[in-house]
Symmetry: C2
Subunit: 720 residues, 2 copies
Amino acid sequence: MGIENTSENPSGLDSSVKEKCCSISQTEMNGITNRERGRNSDGSISCTNMSSRNCSESSIYCSDFEDGSDTGNSVGPCRRRRTSSCSTYQHYQPLSEKILARIESGEPFFSLEFFPPRTRSGAANLLARLDRMRQGGPLFCDITWHPAGNPGGDSETSSMTIAWASLNYSGLDTMLHMTSAGATVADIDRHLAKAKNMGIRNILALRGDRLEDGNPSDFEYATMLVKHIRKTYGDYFVIGVAGYPAGHPEAPSYDEDLKYLKEKVDAGADFIITQLFFKPEVFFKFVNDCREIGIRVPIIPGVMPIQSYDSLRHIVKLSKLEVPQEIVEIVEPLKHNDEAIRNYGIHQASEMIKAMFQSGVAPGVHFYTLNREVATISIIKQLGLWNCQPQRTLPWKVVPSYRRCQEEIRPIFWSTRPNAYIHRTSHWDDFPNGRWGSSESPAFGDLRDYYLFYLKSKSTKEELLEMWGHSIDSYQDVWDVFYHYLMGLPNKNGVKITKIPWNDEELCPETTVISDRLACLNKRGILTINSQPNVNGVDSTDPIHGWGTQGGYIYKKAYLEFFVSARRMQNLKEILTQYSQINYHIINKNGRFNFTNAYRHCPIAVTWGVFPGREIIQPTVVDPESFLVWKDEAFGLWTEQWAKLYPEGSKSRQIIESIANSYYLVNLVDNDFPKETVLWEVLDKLLSCDDRNHEEECLSTDESLSCSDEVDSQLQRLSV
Amino acid sequence: MGIENTSENPSGLDSSVKEKCCSISQTEMNGITNRERGRNSDGSISCTNMSSRNCSESSIYCSDFEDGSDTGNSVGPCRRRRTSSCSTYQHYQPLSEKILARIESGEPFFSLEFFPPRTRSGAANLLARLDRMRQGGPLFCDITWHPAGNPGGDSETSSMTIAWASLNYSGLDTMLHMTSAGATVADIDRHLAKAKNMGIRNILALRGDRLEDGNPSDFEYATMLVKHIRKTYGDYFVIGVAGYPAGHPEAPSYDEDLKYLKEKVDAGADFIITQLFFKPEVFFKFVNDCREIGIRVPIIPGVMPIQSYDSLRHIVKLSKLEVPQEIVEIVEPLKHNDEAIRNYGIHQASEMIKAMFQSGVAPGVHFYTLNREVATISIIKQLGLWNCQPQRTLPWKVVPSYRRCQEEIRPIFWSTRPNAYIHRTSHWDDFPNGRWGSSESPAFGDLRDYYLFYLKSKSTKEELLEMWGHSIDSYQDVWDVFYHYLMGLPNKNGVKITKIPWNDEELCPETTVISDRLACLNKRGILTINSQPNVNGVDSTDPIHGWGTQGGYIYKKAYLEFFVSARRMQNLKEILTQYSQINYHIINKNGRFNFTNAYRHCPIAVTWGVFPGREIIQPTVVDPESFLVWKDEAFGLWTEQWAKLYPEGSKSRQIIESIANSYYLVNLVDNDFPKETVLWEVLDKLLSCDDRNHEEECLSTDESLSCSDEVDSQLQRLSV
């Protein structure tokens, strides 16, 4: 097969493989094919908002239309029986299938390689980086294996832990490297069992560097490791292997090395990721040579953006690669100008990848990020691969682990603390599939481990004190923290408040819509920690409220959750008697006061979507039983995240703790979603009670300036 | 306890019983109490459209708000753990609880007694009568036990079969009488086991008449039967017993008889139904006497409307009752005027019941109907007890059997053949609770038994021939049958067509909305057998589309199911390529042609409701797998219900069978429910293809008069 032929079948895949791939992902039911994402003439890709982008986020929506073509098909024998529930069509799609699907759709992908950090705070930082990079829609990320650092251990910096956190908390399909050099069968089996137990299903099988003084390994070559994984675990693991376009430095020859690669593939590898190189022709030749000797699996080029002179020298030395003379000539003169080198690196990598995409030989690109993000993101964006407007498959971040792939419903309470929710439900075997009710009283795990790197605030203690105040002198000081957070304003020290204990992120766009109203309530001591506006059938592609496939309609009931003082809680109870359309639940810290008009065993759907050809999807509920669990966390955060910033016995700590001990946690659902919500009216009435003695008066419409008035007049000012 | 006291606690119930009752049904979540149905000054009840009426239809919506009061309550210990799913809050509510709930709510009920008919057609007629009377909302009906007629047998006229059909096919909570006289323990155990197996949970335990030449019974008294049922089945059966306001004719004295009654109650009876009587004072004294000796269970007066001189004489003789002189004096002179006697009977019974309701002593009334309906319905309506506008709990008729009480989803295909659906799913153990998907490939029972009395047409063969034609000479003759049915018009012989094989009832109000359009299609050979218009969030109390509790919103996707010729089916396939918003499924009789663009294992919700405080309820789906089952029935009905009316080899039979063999069954779902449906446009295009040769032209908008135009011009005529 010559290079000419590759333009017809550029990836060199078996037609049987392509067929398999085609049946999986070619078509969406409504005739939206993955091909809509057009390739530009320069090889870059136009970024459009497409439902098929969901493939990169999880396996939802892209693989269950068997025998699909948009003109319909005579129904043949069932190719793969779906076992999951029907509303979101979620099921686990192995990484190998995702890659094939993207090859078939002609939509190039990118993936990202990271190494485990050395410190705890490094681990937290890396997770934050993964969170950011996930936005762009990588197909997967992989975590390297550090044999010297107990990579299979339980420390926060082990390869195993980082891969697990990447999968579950950053929500990336994750591949774990594993090296066999120096390892016994027992070592490997222990690692594989643990990876499986953690939900990891992708392994990059490597030999790794032989330790000079190490024991002889049970696995002399990576081929033996691949064989062992396949033999022991069948198809459970997707297996990647490394390819060396310049030949493995220890191989007798380039041709010998290709034969080793062929053996690895024949042993069961699903795809190849190449060692880094600097010229596209190297990759073209390598792929062509692989196809010549019968290697049919996808080959993904590995690219390292040149980020500094030192790192280039270091990597080249490690990998025993030769840097092309033309690159040396450009880089050498810039060696003291890091920025210039980085810019060159971005340019060089972008051009090389464009050439590979244009040729059609590279199905995607794998980035050796060196745990940095700026250069890589810049290149991804230049290539048009960054997913600017990702269409969410569900209103919350879907975890791509096969363990949770059928998860399609969550209580709203944890919507700003998804990591805590995942942590507390990580031991669940079965995810409630579509009906929360089918999993009555699910046992939530305890949350005592606020220090865990994926749970704790991304900010340091000092940063939090800067935001929330080095000292708290009054309740109003506390209220103002909430107020400034919602308004996106700096506090009195000029520090912008970007988080509160219940929300470690900035406000989501949905909340922004109502943040003025919320801010006004908070300034006066109604301390809101969760909310959503009502929505009556907006398009599923709506940039703020949309999720799911095209052609759907999204609905929400207005929801508000807040802390209030005991006195106000009493007034609120009175006021609520006038509003039969509201479901409420009021509870105190120890749970002895527990007052609701909701059916206790019945969750209330507060977000749902209606899509073509499906049942109704209702991914967010207000569940009275889970609320009892959530309240412990919600009250606990006052103490754990805030009060403990101050010395024991200090006034600041006392104030925070007195709020935790005396305030009530309230949630309100306005069931009449098609109409303007009455929740603001209820809270205006509540505020109007403050200066009054008589209940009757309290319940009448207030003539003083209510929060609604205040916001309205602000809006008027804005529109003038 | 004197009569004076009964006005405070008129039913004489234990306060503990009342409390239990209160916790069950006093309050709907939205503060709508059962008390809204006001009692008029004359003791009759105003008929209002109330959600609490649902109690009489099934146990949905009225019994799960534990500890409820409309101002909320501190949540106490769980009194009864709900085990069913959460969307409709369905669970089985025993008849005894329903009675207590109605006593507590102050809303009188009525119940109806029938005896098993003697013939097969009598059985079909009785079922039709039960269907009609069910509309008025009886709390239950009961079926008498005919010891001489093998009452526990399997014939269509046995007490057991009629009770089972009443429960499952007429949808009435049903009580089966059982008499012990002459029966052995083995007899009774066999009967009870069979009743249990059939889903019957209410037994009226009677001694019955001793057979003069019979064997001595194992159960000398009804008390022994009550004890035996309780001992053997615990609380499984609700047990009613008979009370004799005039004393049992065989009892030594009235007081002795009261003691026997007390024993029956102490043995475990849940309530008392009285023998008939003619003056309210008799009932007042009886209740008072019962309460005096400590009988606390509800006592329901049994009333027999006087319907003819002969039947009055007959009943009085049987029951050894004395007719009051004043009644004798009125009836005697009228003895040859049946209508006058019936009118008097209606008047007399109504006045007596009103007096009993006004006193507050009677919680409801039990009618000895003698299997007739006119007089009883007339009385019920005079009393204001007839439920004029029943609010449906779900869009289809709910079966009150505990076996099906969690059923909350059905395929739309059987919507006009609910009895066939119930028959075919009667062996299911678990009803898919909320997610059709959780019951993949449910195994439907065969439908070979078209002759079964609850499945066959209520019309005779001659009536069907009158409607559908004594001879069929052309396809157009067939099409006209559909057309006339939909238009509610008489056929060419002047006979109004009120049914077609797929629909044994007149059109439902929902279909009426679109019947003109449908009729036009049918006249031209698109033979529709099922349809629903799209609906976008109408109020749940809407008289046509509404169901479920107040405060909800109802949604529907437009649905159309029809037979078409092979040629048209080909054109339709072409046309459908232009409409990505439509899900279609096209199939032929033998299923070899099976063409769909739907996910084969995923049902499409086509009717759903959003209610306060609940998950989304989606009771009707289009399920591709069930469609494969339904098509056998739908094609089979051509032959079984229609072709077989004509002699073998006749032209009429040939035409019908050729349609069954050559037409295609199609279903279409328009997923874009908020917009005007495009289904009419699709079918107009289809009709416009008929006279054309070129596909391209066929796909363009037709300039000839389409069905839409025709209907529009009709509407214009109407509005001029």
